[in-house]
Symmetry: C2
Subunit: 340 residues, 2 copies
């Protein structure tokens, strides 16, 4: 059904439409790309492609534009990887290496990604639940006030201030440290609850009331509410081409403000090492049905990823370029976390 030339025609249509944003006609197509056949032949191929649902035309006397299905075929079989230039790679590396802490890494990644791709960039903070505890510090702020600081191997730091009903002595605090420390160190956060299970029994009796308070904060903060966060940037890129989102800009912006929605978007990757592309109607998120989303997981190589990142843009996007950029940034972020 779809011989090589028809695929070539589809590729040409996608490429032309992506760069010009105008429906592409048979004549222009036959001329511009060295297909070696006449416009009439191209028209026949187009008819076939349209029957199969890969392209469509807005109205009778207009050129063709790719459908979601057409983009899908293009992405899966027709687009060739577009490797980044050495300069781009160096730019990524130096820009990310300037980061001072995790927050900064994430912010820089967002900025970088949105500038590289000229799309909206989305970066998830390293997930707490998949990280390992590196350290739990208990700080004695005031007689009846403690600060809990939890540091994970992904560089993330969570802190909570805790008011105690009773006054607590300095040595009790150091006892607390000794009780929590060994149990948590190196534990996956997701397993933390189990690691702390027998704690009330193992601890000295006098420590019980304080311990219970601390324990409940630790658990609620880190286990029950493994709060996930997302950074986003480059929304101005959505307005770059007014034609891309005539009426649909609003739902897109709304969807992008819903952290929960974005998390689902990024979390949907099943195979975390490869780049995932959701095109138009393939998106489960209502407001993003008019966009395409390119995502990938990042993290320490060879392990479960600790987060995800990606870009959101019009279905009419440079898939090859964006996939490369997303992959590259993810790799550098992963390296950075491993080194930190």
């Amino acid at each position: 059904m779809l011989d090589d030339r028809k695929l070539e025609v589809l590729r040409a249509i996608v490429e032309d439409f992506v760069s010009t944003n105008e429906p592409v006609g048979s004549k222009a197509l036959a001329e511009r790309h060295g297909l070696g056949v006449s416009p009439a032949t191209v028209r026949n191929d187009m008819a076939t492609l349209e029957d199969e649902g890969f392209i469509t035309h807005p109205h009778t006397s207009a050129g063709r534009i790719p459908t979601d299905k057409g983009y899908r075929l293009f992405v899966d079989r027709l687009s060739t990887v577009k490797p980044l230039s050495g300069a781009e790679r160096r730019a990524i590396q130096t820009f990310l290496e300037g980061a001072v802490d995790l927050d900064d890494v994430v912010r820089r990644s967002v900025r970088l990604l949105s500038q590289l791709t000229q799309q909206v960039a989305v970066v998830q903070y390293p997930s707490l639940s998949r990280s390992e505890v590196r350290h739990l510090e208990i700080v004695h702020l005031a007689p009846n006030r403690l600060l809990l600081v939890l540091i994970t191997d992904s560089g993330r730091v969570e802190q909570r201030v805790l008011e105690l009903p009773t006054v607590v002595a300095a040595e009790e605090v150091s006892q607390l440290r000794q009780v929590f420390g060994p149990r948590l160190h190196g534990a996956k956060l997701i397993d933390a609850a189990k690691a702390l299970e027998d704690l009330p029994n193992a601890a000295p009796h006098s420590l019980r009331p304080v311990l219970t308070s601390v324990l409940s904060v630790v658990l609620s903060t880190l286990v029950e509410r493994p709060e996930e966060r997302i950074a986003i940037g480059g929304t101005a890129n959505l307005t770059r081409n007014a034609l891309d989102f005539p009426q649909t800009l609003r739902p897109v912006l709304e969807a992008l403000e819903e952290q929960v929605v974005l998390l689902r978007l990024i979390g949907e990757v099943n195979d975390p090492t490869t780049v995932h592309v959701k095109i138009g109607e393939e998106n489960s998120v209502e407001g993003l049905r008019s966009t395409s989303v390119v995502t990938v997981g990042y993290g320490l190589s060879g392990q479960q990823p600790v987060g995800g990142l990606g870009v959101v843009g019009p279905t009419r996007m440079d898939y090859a370029g964006n996939i490369s950029s997303v992959r590259a940034v993810a790799r550098y972020v992963g390296d950075l976390l491993a080194g930190a």
Copy 2:
């Protein structure tokens, strides 16, 4: 020149235009508001107002719309405070009180403010340089690795991981704590450099190399680079009325992505206790010349504010309502920080 009735006409024009987004004509205006005069009289008043530059009309046969100058007069002299309902106040309070940490307070404030005002909300994180140090914790992560955690009275927590060239012993770390602790506690961050000036001389000789490393990180992090942050939300509200930003949506979004620009915007308040309104061309930020910005400082009552917050929207906005909302949220945030 501008008698009471003319001012009343201006107020009516602003109110009508804000609610309908359509140029308002003399007839409709005379009818809808009980001015007690004929449309012809209103027309005369309008002519005067236009001569004075308070209103204008898009084309000859259209009604009048307020100019920036008109809005300015309205805000300064004509608008009456619109107190929030008790329900609204309670909603603000309960919503903000659910916050678990500073990040959460800021995120909730942004969300709250954008929903209350139906505009873009901007909230600055409490400024480091104006806060006081509550605690500096030095955590011994590994033999040659330290974590510095700095807690301020505004609830903000900054952390930095520090690689040392040499191995450092546990007692040296506690010595460090004793050296830094008393000097920093209660000091304004902006004065921290001075407080630490004589530190290298005062400390035990053996501690010198480590101390120098730690000191430089503390100084660079907290004094030289008092990194300021901004949270933003509700950008989808910019698209609520397509007519508000026909072509100018892009520069607005771009300006809103520039943290530096926003900080300047919020920082421009000279008298921090009152609400400031910048209307259209009054804005120093290029991209925001088509918007109005309502800002106010927040912080512990009676003291210098530690940050600012506000909303950005079309010049055609409900100034009275937005001013009330901004003021109310700022007060609750201030209270929350004081209590935490």
